[in-house]
C-alpha cells in the first residue's frame, strides 16, 4: 500500500495537519497496513477540531471500507465495515423499516467515527448514545484482531466507545438498529419566545426526536428564543430530497458578520408561523439538514470556525443561561446554535452525554472567539458539566480531565492496548490524555 502526503483538516478548519495517509480498499490490505505501521484511523473528518488529525504522522483513511456485511430484516441487526456512512444506512434501510438507532447531525459521519466519538442524536433523551447500540466490534491493533463487546473485553470496549481511536482501528461493527415506520418524517415546528419557555418545552416534549434551534444573538427579553422541532418517523410519499449544492469557494469575512447573522436569525425565526406548523419531510432533511450543502464549512471563510458544545446537569440550567447571555453579548455567534435535553445514556469511559441540557454554538474563528470559548469551558466545569471532544478545538487538558470521572479507567485501558502510543492524534497531544499524571 502506498502512503500519500496530504494536507487535511477537521470540519472546523482551524486545525490543520500534514501527514502520510493510506486508504485501503480491502480488509487484507487494511490488516497488513496496521500490522506493519500501526496508525490511527480517520474517516470523513467530520469532527470539528483535531480529533481526526495526526500532524506529522501516519493515518489510515477508512472511507473505502464502507460495505454492509450482513443484515437481519427480522431483528434489525446489521454488520458494517467501519467506513460505512450513517446516511447511507438510513437511505438503504429506512424503506425496509429500520434506522440506525442513533444518528448524528451529519449523514456523512462514518460508523467507526460515530463509535470513536460516541455520538448522540435528536433522540438521545429516549434511547441513549451511539455506543449503547453497538453489539460488538472488530478492533485491529498491530497484528492483533479482536472481537470485543460489553461481555468480551468489557474494559477495552468501554475505552473504544468514545475513545477517540486510541485502542486501535475499528474495522467493522455489529449494530442494533431500531424500527421505523418508513422513510419520511412528520415534523412539528413551534416558536419559543424565551429561555424559560424553551426549557419547559424541552422538558415536556413527548416526541421521539426533539431538537431546539436557538437564536444565539437575541438578548434581553428575547434571550433564548428559538424554534422547537419535534419529529416522528412515518410512512408516506414525499418529493425526493433536493439535489445537493456545493459551496464552491471560501466566503468573505462579512458573510457571517454580526448584522448579517442577526438578520438571518430573525428571518429564520419568523419563517415558522406563530401558530406553529407540522410538515412532512424526507428523512435526510430532518436528520441531516446541512448535508444538502456540500462543504458548508467554507461559509466561514478560510480561517474556519470553532464549535463549542457543552452539557450541564438539569439543576445547573441557570449556568447555561449565563453562558448564552455571554455568547449573545459577544456578538460572535453564527446562526448555528442548538439546545437540547439529554438523557443519561453513554457507552464508554470518555462519552460526552450526561443527563442535562446541551448547548452547541458555532463561532467564526475571529479575534475573541477563542477567549470566549475558553471562558465558556470554565463555566461548564464550574457547573459540573462537560464539553464534547468531537467538537472542541481550544480546551486544555487541565480543563477537560476533571469533567470525565472515568478518565483514569480510560487511560489505563489505552495504556494496556497501545503502550507505545501508535494511535496518538493531535487532540490527544493537545489535551495530554496519554501521559501518566
Amino acid at each position: 500500500m502506498r502512503w500519500k502526503t496530504a494536507d487535511y483538516t477537521g470540519w472546523g478548519r482551524v486545525h490543520r495537519a500534514k501527514g502520510q495517509l493510506a486508504r485501503p480498499e480491502r480488509e487484507s490490505t487494511l490488516e497488513a497496513l496496521i500490522a506493519e505501521e500501526p496508525s490511527p484511523a480517520i474517516g470523513m473528518c467530520r469532527s470539528y477540531g483535531d480529533a481526526c488529525l495526526n500532524d506529522g504522522g501516519h493515518a489510515i483513511d477508512m472511507t473505502r471500507m464502507d460495505r454492509v456485511l450482513s443484515f437481519d430484516a427480522k431483528t434489525g441487526v446489521i454488520e458494517v465495515e467501519g467506513g460505512c456512512r450513517i446516511g447511507e444506512l438510513a437511505r438503504l434501510f429506512a424503506p425496509q423499516g429500520w434506522l440506525p438507532a442513533v444518528m448524528p447531525g451529519t449523514g456523512f459521519a462514518t460508523v467507526a467515527g460515530c463509535i470513536a466519538n460516541d455520538v448522540h442524536g435528536k433522540n438521545h433523551h429516549g434511547i441513549g448514545s451511539f455506543g449503547q447500540h453497538v453489539i460488538s466490534l472488530t478492533l485491529l491493533n498491530g497484528d492483533k484482531k479482536q472481537l470485543i463487546s460489553t461481555k468480551r473485553s468489557a474494559g477495552l470496549f468501554k475505552a473504544t466507545i468514545g475513545g477517540l481511536g486510541q485502542t486501535g482501528v475499528i474495522a467493522s461493527a455489529k449494530l442494533q438498529m431500531i424500527p421505523c415506520k418508513g422513510d419520511v418524517m412528520m415534523v412539528t415546528e413551534r416558536r419559543i419566545e424565551g429561555w424559560d419557555e424553551f426549557l419547559a418545552a424541552l422538558d415536556s416534549s413527548k416526541a421521539t426526536y426533539t431538537v431546539g434551534w436557538i437564536d444565539a444573538t437575541a438578548k434581553g427579553d428575547d434571550l433564548g428564543r428559538g424554534i422547537l422541532e419535534e419529529g416522528e418517523t412515518g410512512a408516506g410519499l414525499v418529493p425526493k430530497p433536493k439535489k445537493s449544492r456545493a459551496i464552491p469557494f471560501n466566503a468573505p469575512g462579512f458573510a457571517l458578520s454580526k448584522p448579517v447573522v442577526r438578520l438571518f436569525n430573525k428571518l429564520y425565526y419568523s419563517r415558522v408561523p406563530k401558530s406553529g406548523r407540522t410538515t412532512v419531510k424526507p428523512i435526510s432533511d430532518f436528520f441531516f439538514p446541512l448535508d444538502a450543502i456540500h462543504d458548508w464549512n467554507r461559509l466561514y471563510g478560510k480561517r474556519g470556525f470553532h464549535q463549542f458544545q457543552c452539557v450541564v446537569p438539569i439543576a445547573q440550567a441557570d449556568a447555561l443561561r449565563e453562558m448564552l447571555e455571554r455568547i449573545a453579548n459577544s456578538g460572535l455567534a453564527s446562526p448555528l446554535a442548538v439546545l437540547k435535553r439529554m438523557g443519561e445514556g453513554r457507552g464508554g469511559y470518555m462519552s460526552f452525554p450526561m443527563e442535562g441540557y446541551t448547548l452547541a454554538v458555532d463561532f467564526p474563528n475571529r479575534a475573541g472567539a477563542e477567549y470566549l470559548i475558553q471562558s465558556l469551558i470554565d463555566m461548564t466545569e464550574a457547573a459540573g458539566g462537560r464539553i464534547y471532544l468531537a467538537k472542541d478545538s481550544v480546551a486544555t487538558g487541565a480543563q477537560v480531565k476533571p469533567m470525565y470521572p472515568e478518565f483514569a479507567d480510560y487511560q489505563a485501558e489505552v495504556q494496556k492496548a497501545d503502550p507505545d502510543g501508535h494511535y496518538t492524534t493531535d487532540i490527544i497531544r493537545r489535551l495530554d490524555l496519554r501521559s501518566k499524571s
Partner: protein, 245 residues
C-alpha cells in the same frame, strides 16, 4: 426483464461502485476476481442493496480454466447476460524496462484475458438475443507515451477488440460500451504524483450506467477527457516523439 451482470475484476473500486449501482436497480451481480474474501464482502453489500442475485466467483484473467465455471453459473440465470470488464494491470514502466517478461502479464490482464472470456460468452449472448458488454479501457490506450506505453498498448488492443465485438453483437441485438476513464481516484492512482481532474469511482460508475442505458458506443469519463485526448491525438508525431507528457 431481469438482467445479470458478470463483473470481471470486481475488487477494484470502480467495479465495486458499478456493482452497487446495478444492484440498487435490482439486477443480479456475479462478482468475479481473485480475492474471494473481498468479493464475498462486496457480494453481501450488493445483496443488501437489492441485487436479485449476488455472488462472489473466482476469476483470473491469466487462468483460462477459471472461465468455464462462470459460464456455467450464469446459464442458471434467466434473462439478459451482461458483462462488465474492469480488469487490467499497470506495473510501473521502469519495472517493465528492467524485466520485459512482465509485458505478457499486462497484456493478459488488460487485453487477451478478458477478450478470451468475452469470446467464450458471446455465443450465449447472441442466443439470448441481446445483453450488454461494458469494456473499461483507458485514455492511455489512445496514444502510446513514454510513461506507460505497454499498458497503453494493451488497452488499445482491447479497445479495438471491443469495436469488433460491438460490430458482431449489434447484429444479435446486443451492445458494447467502450469506456475510457481519465484519472480516477482509486487504489491504483492513490499517492501518484501529477494527477489532476481526478474523478470519484461513483461518478465514473454513474457515467457508465448512463452510457449503457443510452447505448452509447465509446465514452470518456469524465466527459472532458474526450477533448483532452483529441488534443493529445492531434499533436503531430514528429513533435509528440520529443515530448514527455
Amino acid at each position: 426483464m431481469s438482467e445479470t451482470w458478470i463483473i470481471l475484476g470486481a475488487t477494484s473500486s470502480m467495479a465495486k461502485a458499478f456493482a452497487r449501482a446495478v444492484a440498487e436497480r435490482g439486477d443480479g451481480v456475479l462478482l468475479a476476481g481473485r480475492d474471494m474474501d473481498d468479493l464475498k464482502r462486496t457480494a453481501a453489500d450488493c445483496a443488501q442493496r437489492g441485487a436479485a442475485v449476488s455472488e462472489a466467483i473466482k476469476f483470473d484473467a491469466r487462468k483460462r480454466e477459471s472461465f468455464a465455471p462462470i459460464y456455467k453459473r450464469v446459464l442458471r440465470e434467466d434473462g439478459m447476460i451482461n458483462v462488465a470488464v474492469f480488469v487490467g494491470s499497470m506495473p510501473p514502466q521502469e519495472d517493465i524496462d528492467a524485466d520485459p517478461s512482465l509485458i505478457e502479464g499486462v497484456v493478459k490482464d488488460s487485453f487477451t484475458g478478458p477478450a478470451e472470456f468475452l469470446q467464450g460468452i458471446a455465443p450465449e449472448m447472441e442466443a439470448r438475443g441481446g445483453g450488454c458488454v461494458v469494456g473499461v479501457g483507458s485514455v492511455a490506450g489512445d496514444r502510446g507515451r513514454i510513461g506507460n506505453y505497454v499498458y497503453g498498448a494493451a488497452k488499445a488492443g482491447f479497445a479495438t477488440y471491443l469495436s469488433g465485438l460491438r460490430n458482431r453483437l449489434t447484429r444479435a441485438g446486443g451492445h458494447v460500451v467502450t469506456v475510457k476513464p481519465g484519472f480516477v481516484d482509486t487504489g491504483m492512482t492513490w499517492g501518484i504524483e501529477g494527477m489532476f481532474l481526478v474523478a470519484s469511482p461513483d461518478k465514473v460508475a454513474a457515467d457508465i450506467l448512463k452510457a449503457v442505458d443510452k447505448k452509447r458506443n465509446v465514452i470518456y469519463t469524465p466527459f472532458f477527457w474526450r477533448y483532452i485526448m483529441l488534443i493529445i491525438r492531434s499533436i503531430p508525431e514528429f513533435i509528440f516523439k520529443k515530448m514527455s507528457i
